[in-house]
């Protein structure tokens, strides 16, 4: 035990967490009231509170990260702190995996259990005969027991192009990371820029697909459990891609300012882990929502 231990950096008091708590409070109250006003066709303060909350959250994020970056650039972070951040990020991604698992669970339950049962499978002949006469189980559920009809979103075309885009973006981001680690800054900049462009084009095509679904296929959020799982899964995934793209854009400007060294680039690494995670979720989505 002759080893010398570095002092762990315990930050001094910080105003940002309480600002963040107030922001989440405003967002929760605002969003809660906003959805109520939206469905009741009322006008109220919900939207304003929600916007105020989001602005507060953005101010908090900028302030907190500025502190964080200043500390990091002035060398206050030890290797042990770097490990804390990396482990923290990994566990955060695990929690995100479980969030998506809830919606995948709903998809599998609907496909494997609730739709077949409504069609009379297992011991549910009477459910079908008495409650939903004439309903036939199928997946995708393009005609619901209640009588809503829609059309299937095929896997060919846009979804496949989007899959290729995201897979390529994972590769370009990996090369950006390699560039950073080998101190090839040009490779880092170009590859990171390419990743951001691919992310943006994915999002544009996703919007295109939603427009196609709503206007030509009649596939909406309201068209039964097929539409529900389709839009909730791709929608939450799209929100994550948006967040991931914003993170990568911030990283891009930090790279241009000369931040990050081959050995000290936690923020970049975290952003890149997040991007790869979003990618893996998409592959699962492509498989279970579109192809199978």
């Amino acid at each position: 035990m002759q080893q010398q231990y570095e002092k762990y950096y315990v930050p001094a008091q910080s105003p940002w967490p309480i600002v963040g708590a107030v922001a989440l409070f405003l967002i929760a109250v605002g969003a809660g009231n906003f959805v109520i006003e939206l469905t009741r066709d009322q006008t109220g303060y919900g939207k304003h509170l929600l916007i105020a909350g989001i602005v507060t959250l953005l101010v908090m994020l900028v302030g907190w990260f500025k502190n964080q970056i200043d500390e990091s650039m002035s060398g206050m972070h030890s290797a042990q702190l770097g490990r804390s951040y990396r482990q923290g990020m990994s566990w955060f991604i695990f929690s995100e995996v479980m969030f998506f698992a809830a919606f995948f669970g709903a998809l599998f339950y609907a496909r494997m259990i609730s739709v077949p049962w409504l069609g009379g499978a297992s011991n549910n002949e009477m459910t079908n005969a008495v409650l939903w006469p004439g309903f036939e189980a199928m997946w995708p559920l393009i005609s619901t027991p209640g009588g809503t009809t829609t059309q299937q979103m095929g896997a060919a075309g846009l979804p496949t192009i989007n899959t290729i885009i995201l897979l390529v973006s994972s590769v370009t981001l990996h090369f950006a990371h390699v560039g950073l680690e080998q101190n090839k800054r040009r490779q880092l900049t170009w590859m990171l820029g390419a990743t951001i462009l691919l992310g943006c084009s994915f999002l544009v095509l996703q919007v295109e697909e939603y427009i196609h679904a709503y206007h030509e296929l009649g596939l909406t959020l309201q068209s039964g459990v097929y539409g529900n799982t389709f839009f909730m899964l791709t929608g939450f995934h799209g929100m994550h891609v948006t967040l991931g793209t914003i993170i990568l854009i911030v990283m891009f400007f930090r790279v241009l300012k000369g931040h990050f060294t081959p050995h000290n680039h936690f923020a970049f690494q975290a952003g890149s882990w997040y991007w790869h995670f979003v990618d893996v979720v998409w592959v699962m989505l492509y498989l279970f929502v579109y192809v199978l």
């Binding site: 809660g32 959805v35 109520i36 804390s84 609730s114």
Partner: protein, 535 residues
């Protein structure tokens, strides 16, 4: 060596005292703090306030049920009381209290200077008061607050709920964010901040149980977030996850909810197991019997908790095969739990026991938690559960494991570590009054619920059949007495915080063992700025 004991080159006390001068003052100390002890204190006080608020709601419930018939509140308000009582006690009292204890104790037990991510720690706490402000204020909205039970089953929470459901959903979302961040902090602290020599199998059991609890929290809180999101879209945006007309299924809600809900139950009891495993050896003056088996039992309980969720839904529609699977998986949990109870009893066996207040609560925990565990075993048996489901027998079962289990363990923990926190011995006479009043009243309160439940009295109903009148009178009397007894606890804690009582030594309790007992009492504002070496 299974436990951490000696410190070589102990914490540099001179250094700590130097920092004592820098304790921030005023309100900003609490708003901006990054200190694990301050944040632990905030969590514990918040949990206590919520315990009293949730308790007041229980008093409303028991007042209404004192006599058959409807006399004090209308049924809709009664439903809001049962709902919000449950939500507050689970998310506002028990979980924050355990998180507060983790904040105070985990860094001191593993020889860390603070939690791994101190600013995020502050954020996790301060979200909570806002979340509960939203939940409580929704009670005053038009149409009332949430009235669908803390389990918010669809379609009660979708088709038949009031508008305030929108606020309920988002308040649960931010509670979840708080819990996940708190859990990430605990897990990273334990993985990354242990003092040199503090190997896995030397960690105190409270640290072990919290490590596993934190894992459960990160795994299932996001699933709860998914469930409330689907409730939100079903209610407000026309989706039909839980509506058969659109191909969904209300039973699917129960599957998703209980996939969160059952690990949640262990989130509320595993830290309690840790606390009891710290206290019993101290006052038996023996090492904990079967340390390694305790660790493995805790891990087994956590893993099994993921495959037993549907035992909450035996009567709501599943194939017989699934009912059998969930019945046997559930019964399997009694094996590691039995290992734990056996080990506690074996620790006391031929120990040189003394019965200070923490020990009284710990022994009460073992006996009464076991009663709750055994009624759980009865409920696990599918055919008889058809009789017990949604009766007061279930209410009796989970109050035995949560009140005389989790809550008693929190009280034991507070009495055990309070002298370390304040540097003074609390009023032991008054604390004994608190213990005995609580012990007697809690059994008057919950034990007869077994009888009325077996006889068929349904839960969550504001009125009941005349034959249950006598038992319910006694249950209510026990309830009021238990509620009042907690005011004694409040007095003891306030007196201790005002530095009344005798000064205590560093070790505080004669048989206490572990790093936290080797630093001064009260614990300095900063401890272990240079890590101790654990042999």
């Amino acid at each position: 060596m299974t436990k951490a004991t000696d410190i070589v080159g102990a914490a540099d006390h001179g250094h700590d005292e130097h920092h004592e001068h820098h304790i921030p003052k005023g309100i900003t100390r609490w708003l901006f703090t990054t200190n694990h002890k301050d944040i632990g204190t905030l969590y514990l006080w918040f949990a206590f306030i919520m315990f009293l608020v949730g308790g007041a709601m229980a008093m409303v419930i028991r007042a209404e049920l004192f006599q058959p018939g409807l006399q004090i509140v209308d049924p809709n308000f009664f439903n809001q009381m049962t709902t919000v009582h449950g939500l507050i006690m689970v998310f506002g009292a028990v979980m924050p209290a355990f998180t507060g204890l983790a904040n105070w104790l985990v860094p001191m037990m593993i020889g860390a200077p603070d939690m791994a991510l101190p600013r995020m720690n502050n954020w996790s706490f301060w979200i909570l008061p806002f979340a509960f402000l939203i939940l409580l204020s929704s009670l005053f909205m038009e149409g009332g607050g949430p009235a669908f039970g803390w389990t918010f089953y669809a379609p009660l929470s979708t088709t038949y709920s009031s508008d305030s459901t929108g606020l309920f959903v988002f308040s649960v979302h931010i509670m979840g964010i708080s819990s996940i961040m708190g859990a990430i902090n605990v897990i990273v602290t334990i993985f990354n901040m242990r003092a040199p020599g503090m190997t896995w199998m030397k960690m105190p059991l409270f640290v072990w149980t919290w490590l596993i609890t934190a894992f459960l929290l990160i795994a299932v809180m996001p699933v709860l977030a998914g469930a409330v999101t689907m409730v939100l879209t079903d209610k407000f945006f026309g989706t039909s996850f839980f509506d058969a007309a659109g191909g969904g299924d209300p039973v699917m809600f129960q599957h998703i909810f209980w996939f969160f809900g059952h690990p949640e139950v262990y989130i509320m009891i595993l830290p309690a197991f840790g606390i009891i495993s710290q206290i019993i050896p101290t006052f038996s003056r023996k090492k904990l019997f079967g340390y390694a088996s305790m660790v493995y039992a805790t891990a087994s309980i956590a893993l099994l908790s993921f495959i037993v969720w549907a035992h909450h839904m035996f009567t709501t529609g599943m194939p017989v095969f699934a009912e059998m699977f969930f019945m046997f998986a559930t019964m399997l949990i009694s094996v590691p739990t039995g290992v734990k109870v056996f080990n506690w009893v074996a620790t006391m066996w031929r120990g040189s026991m003394s019965f200070e207040v923490p020990m009284l609560f710990a022994i009460a925990f073992i006996v009464l938690f076991t009663i709750g565990g055994l009624s759980g075993l009865m409920l696990a048996i599918t055919p008889v559960d058809f009789q017990y489901h949604d009766t007061y027998f279930v209410v009796a079962h989970f109050h035995y494991v949560l009140v005389t289990g989790a809550v008693f363990s929190i009280m034991a923990a507070v009495y055990y570590w309070l002298p370390k926190w304040t540097g003074r011995m609390f009023d032991t006479g008054l604390a004994k009054w608190h213990f005995w009043c609580s012990l007697v009243s809690v059994n008057v309160l919950f034990f007869p619920m077994h009888f009325v439940g077996l006889a068929g009295m349904p839960r969550r109903i504001p009125d009941y059949s005349l034959q249950f009148a006598d038992f319910n009178k006694w249950i209510s009397i026990g309830g009021f007495a238990f509620g009042l007894s907690q005011l004694i606890f409040l007095v003891v804690v306030i007196k201790a915080c005002r530095k009344q009582g005798e000064k205590v030594s560093d070790q505080v309790w004669e048989g206490a063992d572990g790093l936290e007992w080797e630093i001064p009492s009260p614990a300095p504002y900063h401890t272990f700025e240079t890590p101790p070496v654990v042999k």
